[in-house]
Symmetry: C2
Subunit: 208 residues, 2 copies
């Protein structure tokens, strides 16, 4: 497949969330204009984004909401269940383990890994805290395709290396460091410091 821009993928996610919202309200069809308004973009942008993957609309009519949302789910890889583990049973790991958003989107979080013996073995709702030492074994057994890294900055690269070697397919990194992974492993990062600094930059250099 032709290379798709990061920004396009993010907008597809957005469109999907709007579609799910209006689908729940029973609205049968929508248009590129509607989606653009909800997503703060233009109708041409919406049509261009979709056009990379096929033509899903009817000229003169718009898009079938259930059909388009199904297509987007498939495009985004949401047609299947994804098993996720969280690494690091600290504050962020704990919040993520209990975050309902994962399940709602079909992501199954069944375990958190930590090396602290006082945490190992406990249960947080449906999620159990397991020994970090068994991480490789569990990934190799196919228990997870995605790892969420919620560990301190100085151990993040080491853990990333370990899960990559064990065959993980994607990593979502919450540690405030730039990770290096082979480019057949998908990597995304959520960096609080970066977001806050983007805010303070914008506030400080107000243009409007």
């Amino acid at each position: 497949m032709r290379r798709i821009a990061e920004s396009t993928v993010r907008r597809l996610s957005l469109y999907l969330s709007f579609l799910e919202e209006i689908e729940a309200r029973g609205v049968p069809t929508t248009s590129s204009e509607d989606l653009a308004r909800l997503g703060g973009t233009t109708s041409a942008q919406v049509r261009k984004d979709l056009s990379f993957f096929g033509s899903f609309g009817k000229r003169g009519l718009g898009y079938s909401v259930p059909e388009l949302s199904a297509r987007l789910r498939r495009i985004l890889g949401l047609g299947r269940q994804w098993r996720v583990c969280i690494i690091g049973a600290g504050k962020i790991g704990a919040a993520l383990a209990r975050y309902a958003g994962f399940t709602e989107r079909g992501f199954i979080v069944s375990a958190v890994y930590d090396s602290d013996p006082s945490k190992i073995g406990s249960r947080w709702g449906n999620v159990k805290v397991r020994d970090e030492a068994s991480l490789e074994r569990d990934i190799e057994a196919g228990d997870y395709q995605i790892a969420v890294l919620a560990v301190p900055a100085d151990s993040a690269q080491n853990l990333a290396d370990r899960v990559v070697r064990a065959g993980i397919k994607g990593i979502l990194n919450f540690a405030p460091v730039q990770l290096t992974v082979p480019n057949d492993v998908a990597l995304r990062a959520v960096n609080m410091a970066m977001e806050l600094e983007a805010l303070t930059f914008a506030i400080t250099n107000k243009v409007d």
Copy 2:
């Protein structure tokens, strides 16, 4: 000031984190080449990014680490203290309230707001849980410049409207909805669903 690309600001944050790291190790100078290697970009990109704000290096020598990091801190608006409140004392709000990363970067989190009477009045470390009803009063009194929204999707826009009316300067949104704010208010969003879907898209449409 000329408009600066989002991507440039994010890279400046990255450069700063590298500079702080090597500054702590006592390295006196660095080069665009060094910063590029650490940040996964090119030396030309680094120089171009910096050039929007002045010329901080010495030809033939590179950059003074303490000087460049000080300049970047100033550019990013980190030369002052920022007061931050967290809105929503749920799982995410709790994790954020305890997150050390804020303080390390000079962000002062002194309160979490919630409307649940059973939570109001309690203390989490240095952070107290306050009544959401007093949010406007406190913002108007100048207690916070930045609000972090950690509330359910369906109340996020309403709370954003309230803090904007009270005069907040920036919002970091963790709720999975697209917020609308006047464009003199800085807005950033962290959307877990979007990050996960970017991962599953990449895994599903593996190109390499």
